[in-house]
C-alpha cells in the first residue's frame, strides 16, 4: 500500500476516535461498575433499545460462556430495559437519547467505551439478538478460545452472521422471556453465501442467507453484509469502522487465510426473525435510524405485509457447532 493510503487509513481511524471522544458527552452513566472489571476479564459491549424481553436469555448465554462484564449503552428504551440492566451486578450501563444514526449506529458510543475500559481486554461486541458459536463452545469456555488466540498471536476472531428463522410465519410462535430463541428460529441457509474481498480494507464482504434470498433477490448488491469480527483483543488504538463488519488497523480484518488453509472462526447466530421482528420493522420505518436510510427495513416492510415464510425445503435445521463446521460455515482451523 502506498504511504498516502496508509496515511488516509490512519486519518480515518483517528477520525473515528475523535467522533467517539465528541460523542461521549451524549452518554450518561446509569450504573457504572467498571471498577469491578478484573484485569484480563472478557468484556461484552452492546447497544440496546427496548430489548427487555430478550435480555434474560442473552445475559445467561454469555455469562455461561464466561463473559465477566457487560458494557451497555441504552438508547432511549421505555420498556424497562434500563432498569433491568442497572440491577445486574456485572453490568455497567450508560443511557442516551441521542440519535443512533448520528452515532454511526452506536459505533461511536461503543468506541468510546472500548478505548476507555477495554484496553488490553478481549472484547466481544454483539447485538442482543446475536449469539456467538465457536469451535468447541459446548465444552470450552470463551476463555479457552482467547487463551489459544493469545498463544497463536492472533488478535481478532471472525464470526459470520447466520440468520436463523422459524418454519412458518414469524408471528406463529411468540417468544417468551428467558426462552432460547433458537427453539423457535431453528432453521438457517447453509450454502448460498457470496464472498468478495475488499482489498482496500483487507476485509471480506459476505452476503446471502434468507434475507438476500427473500428480500433482495432482484438487487443482491444491497443485501446486508454478514461478515463480522466481534471478538478482538482490544487496544485503545483500534476502532470499528462500520458496525462490527470492519476494523482499523486493517490487519485485524485478516481473519481469513489466503493460501488455501482455514483459520479458526465461529458464527453469530442471529435471532432476528421472531415475532418481535415485525414490531421492530414497523418502528424502524418511523424512526429511520438504520443503515443506508433503513433501506433494508423498507425491503422487509413490503415483504412482511404478506407474512412470508423464510423456510424452504432446503433449509437446514440447527444442531450444533459441529454441523456448522461440516457445512463449511465456520472452521476449527488448527484448534483441536
Amino acid at each position: 500500500m502506498s504511504i498516502i493510503g496508509a496515511i488516509r487509513l490512519r486519518a480515518r481511524r483517528r477520525r473515528a476516535h475523535l467522533r467517539a471522544f465528541m460523542r461521549q458527552r451524549e452518554l450518561s452513566p446509569v450504573a457504572d461498575r467498571t471498577k469491578k472489571i478484573a484485569p484480563q476479564a472478557i468484556v461484552l459491549l452492546s447497544t440496546v433499545r427496548n430489548e427487555r424481553v430478550r435480555l434474560p436469555y442473552f445475559m445467561r448465554y454469555y455469562r455461561d460462556l464466561g463473559v465477566e462484564h457487560f458494557l451497555v449503552v441504552d438508547n432511549d428504551s421505555d420498556d424497562g430495559t434500563r432498569e433491568y440492566l442497572a440491577e445486574q451486578s456485572d453490568v455497567s450501563i450508560w443511557s442516551t437519547e441521542a440519535s443512533y444514526k448520528a452515532s454511526r449506529f452506536g459505533v461511536d458510543w461503543l468506541t468510546h467505551l472500548q478505548r476507555r475500559y477495554c484496553h488490553g481486554h478481549w472484547c466481544l461486541t454483539v447485538d442482543v439478538d446475536e449469539f456467538l458459536v465457536y469451535p468447541f463452545c459446548e465444552t470450552r469456555p470463551l476463555r479457552a478460545l482467547t487463551d489459544w488466540l493469545d498463544a497463536s498471536a492472533v488478535r481478532s476472531f471472525s464470526a459470520m452472521l447466520l440468520d436463523m428463522y422459524p418454519k412458518g410465519p414469524m408471528q406463529a410462535r411468540p417468544y417468551h422471556e428467558g426462552q432460547n430463541p433458537f427453539e423457535i428460529a431453528q432453521w438457517f441457509d447453509s450454502g448460498n453465501y457470496t464472498i468478495q474481498r475488499n482489498n482496500w480494507n483487507s476485509n471480506l464482504w459476505i452476503q446471502g442467507g434468507p434475507r438476500a434470498r427473500m428480500f433482495f433477490r432482484d438487487n443482491p448488491y444491497s443485501a446486508p453484509a454478514l461478515n463480522k469480527v466481534p471478538l478482538v483483543n482490544w487496544d485503545r488504538s483500534y476502532a470499528y469502522v462500520s458496525s462490527t463488519h470492519m476494523l482499523l488497523p486493517r490487519g485485524l480484518n485478516l481473519v481469513f487465510d489466503e493460501w488455501g488453509g482455514e483459520k479458526a472462526s465461529g458464527c453469530l447466530l442471529h435471532a432476528k426473525f421472531l415475532d418481535t421482528f415485525a414490531v421492530k420493522a414497523a418502528e424502524e420505518m418511523t424512526r429511520g435510524q438504520h443503515y443506508a436510510n433503513s433501506q433494508e427495513y423498507i425491503a422487509y416492510q413490503d415483504a412482511l405485509a404478506s407474512q412470508p415464510d423464510l423456510w424452504c425445503k432446503f433449509s437446514e435445521k440447527y444442531i450444533n457447532w459441529r454441523q456448522l463446521e461440516i457445512l463449511g460455515l465456520m472452521s476449527k482451523g488448527n484448534w483441536a
Binding site: 450454502g191 448460498n192 457470496t194 433477490r217 433449509s315 482451523g333 483441536a336
Partner: protein, 565 residues
C-alpha cells in the same frame, strides 16, 4: 530406586503446585524452577503452598526467555540439586508446569525400573532429518543470535540473512555432533551426571549459550557422547502445530488422553478442571500397563494442522478465502458441463439423469433464471434461482452448488446464449468435465419461427460468443477435461462420444448405453445452413453439412456402439 521430577514453571503456578504435590506425595522428589520473570509474590505463594512437603526443593531462578540459554541453565541448576539432594533417584524426568501425569506414578516407576539404563530423549541428527517445524535447524548451531526473536523479529531475521550472505559460520566444537529433539526428556543418573560433571562443561556451555533454542539441542547433543543406551523418544506426549507452538489439551480430550497410555502430557490448559481432577485425584489404576500409544492424538492434531494449512478443497468461507491458484481445488468435486447436447437431443436432461444417475440441471447460467433440475426454484443449500443473484457472483454460485451437493455429481448445460462470465473459471478447474458440440446452438434457431434476418443476426452473435468460449477452452492454461466435436462430426456417430462421457461420469457402472437420447429433427438442416451462407453469414462451428443431403445419424442403432458391423 525412584524417579525424580524437575519442573520448569512460569505461569499457572497453582496448577504446577497441584502436580508437584501429586508427585511428591507419591514419593517422588521434585525440584521446581520458577522463571525469574515471575513476581516475588507469586513465587513466595508457591513456596508456601508446598512448604509441608519435605521432598520438594526450589532451584536458583533464571529468566527463561523462549529460545535462549536461560532454560538450559535452569534445567542444569535444578538437575544438579536433584542429583545431590536425592541420592536414591535413578531417573530424572524433566517436566513443565503445564504437564499432567496421565498414568499413576507407580506405573512409570515400574516401567523405568525394567529399563534401568535407558535414556528416554528424542535426539535426531540435524543432517538427516528436518525435525524442526519451519525455521532453522543446522543453522541453529552455526550462526549467532544476539537479537531476541520475540521482541526484535526484524533484526533477528535480518542478522540471519546477513550471516548467510557473507558466509559466516561458527565452528562447532570438535567431537560434538549436533542433534535436535523435544525439550522434555527422562535421563538416568549416570547420563545426567556425566553431562553435568563433564570436565569440558565450561567450554561446551560457552558454545551453547549462543546456540538458538539450546533447550532443544543441549542435552540432545551431549547425550550421544555419554550414553550407551539412548531411546530416541520422549515419554512426554507433546505435539506441536505448524507454527511450532504446542497443542493444548482441554477437558474434552479426557478420553483421548486416557487411551493414549502416555505417562505425561503437555500442555494442559490451566482451567481444564476435569482433566486435573481426573488424572491427579481420580482412580486411574487398573489400566493395562501398555506401551505409550499416542497414535490417536497424533492423528487428531495432524488433521487439525492439515485443515489449517490446506483446508477443504472447494470451500470459500469467512476464514478461507484463497488467492487465485492457491485454492487447492477450485471446486469441491467433479462435475460435467454439456454444451450443445440439450439442443441436439430433445430429452437430453432426463436421459442423462437416468443413465448416469446424476443430477442433471438445465442451463444454470440462462439469462432469465438458473434452471435447476426438476424446475426447482431453490436448490441445495437454499440457493436461489434468481438470475440477478447468480450474476452478482457467478463463481460463488458454481462453487456453492458443487460444495452443497458433495457426494452427488452435478451436470449442467451451458451455451453461448448463457452468461459467459463463468467460462474461464470452469476451464481452469480440473474438476470440470466439459463436452462441447460446437454449433449445436443453431438447432433451436433452425426450428424457431422467427424472421430469417433475425435468425441470421442471432446466429452471428452466438457464433461469435461460442468462438470466444472455444478459444478459452483450447487455451494452454486450461485444466478442465475438455472434449469438443463439431455438430457434423457428432451427428455422424453420437453413441461413441456419449458412451465415453458417461463412462467417465460413472466409471463403475460399466454398462453399455442401451437407450439413446432422441435426436432433434434435422430435416432440411443443410439447406438452412446454406441459406445462412447465402445471406452472407458464414456458419463455421457446425462443421461441414452437405447441402441438400440431410444428415443420416446412426443414433438409433442399439446395442454395442463399438462393434464394427
Amino acid at each position: 530406586m525412584s524417579v525424580g521430577f524437575v519442573m520448569l514453571c512460569h505461569t499457572a503456578l497453582d496448577r504446577a503446585a497441584e502436580v508437584a504435590r501429586h508427585w511428591a506425595e507419591r514419593d517422588c522428589p521434585v525440584v521446581i524452577h520458577v522463571d525469574k520473570r515471575v513476581t516475588r509474590l507469586a513465587y513466595d505463594g508457591l513456596v508456601a503452598m508446598l512448604s509441608d512437603l519435605s521432598n520438594i526443593r526450589f532451584s536458583g531462578r533464571f529468566a527463561c526467555e523462549w529460545g535462549t540459554w536461560g532454560i538450559v541453565a535452569a534445567t542444569q541448576g535444578a538437575s544438579t540439586i536433584m542429583l545431590r539432594a536425592f541420592p536414591e533417584v535413578r531417573h530424572v524426568f524433566l517436566a513443565s508446569g503445564s504437564c499432567l501425569p496421565l498414568r499413576p506414578v507407580e506405573e512409570l516407576k515400574a516401567y523405568l525400573s525394567t529399563r534401568p539404563r535407558v535414556d528416554f530423549i528424542e535426539s535426531v541428527t540435524t543432517e538427516d532429518v528436518g525435525w524442526t517445524i519451519g525455521g532453522l535447524d543446522l543453522e541453529r548451531f552455526t550462526l549467532r543470535f544476539p537479537f531476541s526473536w520475540r521482541r526484535r523479529r526484524r533484526l533477528f531475521d535480518g542478522y540471519v540473512k546477513l550471516q548467510r550472505k557473507i558466509g559466516y559460520k561458527r565452528r562447532v566444537p570438535p567431537g560434538l555432533v549436533p542433534h535436535l529433539g523435544s525439550q522434555w526428556w527422562c535421563l538416568t543418573r549416570q547420563t545426567l551426571s556425566a553431562i553435568l560433571e563433564s570436565p569440558d562443561r565450561a567450554d561446551i556451555d560457552r558454545y551453547f549459550r549462543r546456540v538458538w533454542i539450546p533447550d532443544e539441542s543441549y542435552f540432545q547433543t551431549l547425550v550421544r557422547q555419554v550414553s550407551t543406551n539412548v531411546e530416541s523418544r520422549s515419554l512426554t506426549l507433546s505435539k506441536f502445530d505448524f507454527q511450532g507452538k504446542p497443542h493444548i489439551f482441554y477437558d474434552d480430550h479426557l478420553q483421548l488422553l486416557r487411551r493414549s497410555d502416555c505417562f505425561v502430557a503437555r500442555k494442559i490448559w490451566p482451567q481444564a478442571e476435569k482433566l486435573y481432577q481426573n488424572f491427579l485425584h481420580g482412580d486411574a489404576s487398573g489400566q493395562a500397563t501398555a506401551e505409550p500409544n499416542p497414535g490417536k492424538i497424533d492423528r487428531l492434531f495432524a488433521k487439525a494442522v492439515e485443515r489449517r494449512i490446506k483446508g477443504r478443497p472447494g470451500l470459500y468461507m469467512q476464514s478461507r478465502m484463497p488467492n487465485e491458484n492457491y485454492e487447492n481445488g477450485r471446486t469441491a468435486a467433479a462435475y460435467s458441463v454439456f454444451e450443445g447436447f440439450a439442443e441436439l437431443f430433445d430429452n437430453f436432461e432426463s436421459w442423462l439423469g437416468k443413465v448416469a444417475g446424476t443430477r442433471a440441471h438445465g442451463h444454470l447460467y440462462a439469462p432469465d433464471r438458473a434452471q435447476f433440475a426438476g424446475g426447482e426454484t431453490v436448490f441445495n443449500g437454499a440457493m436461489s434461482d434468481s438470475a440477478a443473484m447468480r450474476d452478482y457472483a457467478p463463481k460463488s454460485f458454481l462453487t456453492n452448488l458443487i460444495w452443497n451437493t458433495r457426494g452427488e455429481r452435478q451436470c449442467f448445460q451451458f451455451g453461448p446464449a448463457d452468461r459467459q462470465e463463468i467460462g474461464w473459471f470452469m476451464s481452469l478447474d480440473p474438476n470440470a468435465q466439459i463436452s462441447v458440440i460446437s454449433g449445436a446452438w443453431i438447432i433451436p434457431l433452425f426450428h424457431s419461427n422467427q424472421n430469417f434476418s433475425d435468425i441470421r443476426r442471432e446466429a452471428a452473435r452466438l457464433q461469435k460468443i461460442e468462438a470466444d468460449h472455444l478459444g478459452v477452452l483450447r487455451s494452454p492454461w486450461t485444466k478442465a477435461r475438455v472434449r469438443i466435436w463439431s455438430l457434423a462430426e457428432f451427428v455422424e456417430n453420437p453413441m461413441e462420444p456419449l458412451q465415453s462421457i458417461i463412462d467417465e461420469i460413472s466409471p463403475r457402472s460399466l454398462r453399455r448405453l442401451t437407450e439413446a437420447p432422441r435426436l432433434a429433427d434435422l430435416k432440411g438442416f443443410g439447406q438452412f445452413l446454406q441459406n445462412l451462407r447465402n445471406q452472407g453469414m458464414q456458419p463455421i462451428l457446425m462443421g461441414d453439412f452437405p447441402t441438400g443431403e440431410d444428415p443420416n445419424p446412426t443414433a438409433s442403432r442399439r446395442g454395442r456402439p463399438y462393434l464394427v458391423k
